[in-house]
Subunit: 349 residues, 2 copies
């Protein structure tokens, strides 16, 4: 591993002292950047994921253009189900679709074992190239979807408002659901381990659909598999971040899941959450991504509020409470990032 010139992000994840709060944002390698759209104009989304040169190029963009303190590999959580043999269609503006979703033991039986260095080697190659391109400027983050979130997509087959299909599935075929969640957990662990071996300095588990579950169902269908994934990751001091959107009821349990960092969406009170679980884990978040539609003055006001709410000392990774929206003005993100860098210094003295 190259010696890192800026390791603020990793230090904050591990609650080591830093001179200021590090900042990156979810979906920072994304459509809000004209430079990203220029690459995207040449190749569709999945082709970009599978072409290491292109994935590397857009991964590095926000480091150069915005000045974030970490890069996150350009990819998608749905590469795992695809690697397991499911056809995946991604059309701009429509959201991802699995034309043949998993609904019963017959369709579940078709899923294949995955060797991350084979079926997903394009991600590993993208990480290697990005590591070289970054040349130690900032750490590189790898990621996976949580088993619950991946299963939701695999069973629903496409986006949903009510999540009727997956809920039907877990209530009426719980045994099969647990078998699949175990199978996905094994793949996700191996996938994160391979990413670390290929250069990732930290990994994040995106539990995008954790918050659609009742606390009781979360404890049965999401949490244990997040823990299984974390348990299985081969790592040294590489931090694990877990972000379970909307799962306000699960923060305490997530802080005991083995993760080093718990991500917060923008509905969480970071001050209150720090009091409850901040002794065990670092916190990541949690500015409302739509706040970047506001004026730079209003953005600064809100950055101040979030930094103040977290308070003094290390253990805070500044981020949005969700991915940045495609219609965001990059200048506003830049204003946010720069302000975090200067305003946060006083909290680390």
């Amino acid at each position: 591993m190259n010696k890192l010139k800026n390791d603020l992000f990793l230090k904050a994840c591990l609650k080591q002292k830093t001179e200021r709060t590090p900042v990156w944002v979810m979906r920072q390698a994304g459509r809000y950047l004209p430079e990203y759209r220029a690459v995207r104009a040449k190749a569709d989304f999945l082709t970009m994921c599978k072409t290491p040169e292109l994935a590397c190029e857009v991964t590095v963009q926000p480091v150069d253009l915005i000045g974030v303190d970490a890069a996150i590999i350009f990819s998608d959580i749905l590469v795992i189900p695809e690697a397991m043999g499911m056809e995946l269609i991604m059309e701009e503006g429509r959201g991802p679709v699995f034309p043949e979703p998993v609904r019963d033991s017959a369709s579940a039986a078709k899923l294949k074992k995955v060797d991350p260095f084979k079926e997903l080697n394009y991600v590993m190659e993208a990480l290697r190239q990005t590591k070289t391109a970054l040349d130690g400027r900032v750490p590189l983050i790898g990621f996976t979807g949580s088993p619950w979130t991946l299963l939701t997509y695999m069973v629903e087959g496409k986006g949903s408002k009510t999540f009727s299909v997956i809920k039907n599935f877990i209530y009426n075929q719980p045994k099969l659901a647990h078998e699949l969640l175990t199978e996905i957990s094994v793949v996700a662990s191996a996938y994160l381990s391979a990413q670390i071996e290929s250069g990732a300095d930290a990994v994040q588990i995106f539990d995008t659909w954790g918050g659609i579950l009742s606390p009781r169902d979360y404890n049965e269908f999401s949490l244990p598999y997040i823990e299984m994934v974390i348990e299985g990751v081969k790592r040294k001091k590489h931090p694990v971040i877990v972000f379970s959107k909307g799962a306000h009821f699960a923060l305490k349990k997530l802080s005991k899941s083995g993760a080093d960092v718990v991500g917060l969406d923008w509905t969480m009170d970071i001050k209150k959450v720090r009091k409850e679980i901040g002794s065990r884990v670092a916190l990541q978040g949690n500015l409302d991504p739509t706040l970047l539609y506001a004026s730079p003055e209003r953005i600064k006001e809100e950055v101040k509020a979030v930094l103040k709410a977290y308070g003094k000392g290390t253990g805070h990774v500044f981020n949005l409470g969700h991915g940045i929206h495609p219609d965001t003005d990059p200048e506003n993100l830049k204003a946010m990032v720069n302000f975090v860098k200067t305003e946060s210094v006083k909290y680390h003295k």
Copy 2:
């Protein structure tokens, strides 16, 4: 007012002693019922709202067919913006659309004052007819959208995943947003007062989109207007229920809003919430509506869990944590309702 033969719901709202826990469900007059679909086959959704005979018919259906302890008038929260002069289009399966949303002071200036007994008299007439049809069997609930939720629809113009338009609006035109929220609050108060005058025994405020706001923005753009609506309602002992979906961070404030009952979605831990705010307000909820896809055995198990979590004593109105889904088997709802009635007795001894 007819003397009520079953006033369990009203008593529980006011935390008076009852012999068991009352139960009703949001959207109980809805598409999951074949008898509803038979009426719906003859008239579109808005025509049903505006034809008191039809609204009355479907309002009474779940009382007869399911055995719920309260009726809620068949209507829609968007009748207020329509009464204020906005064209409203409702197409099955597409969600409501305002072709000319409010986006600036010019479009805001076109909004008209509303006299509920004129523009919305069809709702009042539906309440009167329903009151007669119910003949005191169970109480009748009236409702409104919260000012924030109504403004969200009026500004977005249609459904949204990111709520970019309304967020843009409040961050960049906050003064206009507050003016509109005040205007809507006045209408909503008058509307609820008129519903009570027309026979409603209780009223509910649906803050469907409260949970998309950060706590700070909620305190600025939703909560004060909910309080303004409640403050303005002319009522005697008619309970006010407030349901702010997803606003887990606001429950304490809602318990001090003037409401008698706070509704909980299925992600809330009703035991924990009762500990925090149960001395001030009754609680309504909160079984996951998708749980009704499960077997009657599993449904009973979960009803037990919710009743046990709330615990002994009055102040619990059993409900789902969100509207019932159209693809629910009515038999499963009936199983839920019947089980609540028998299982809850022991908590009231």
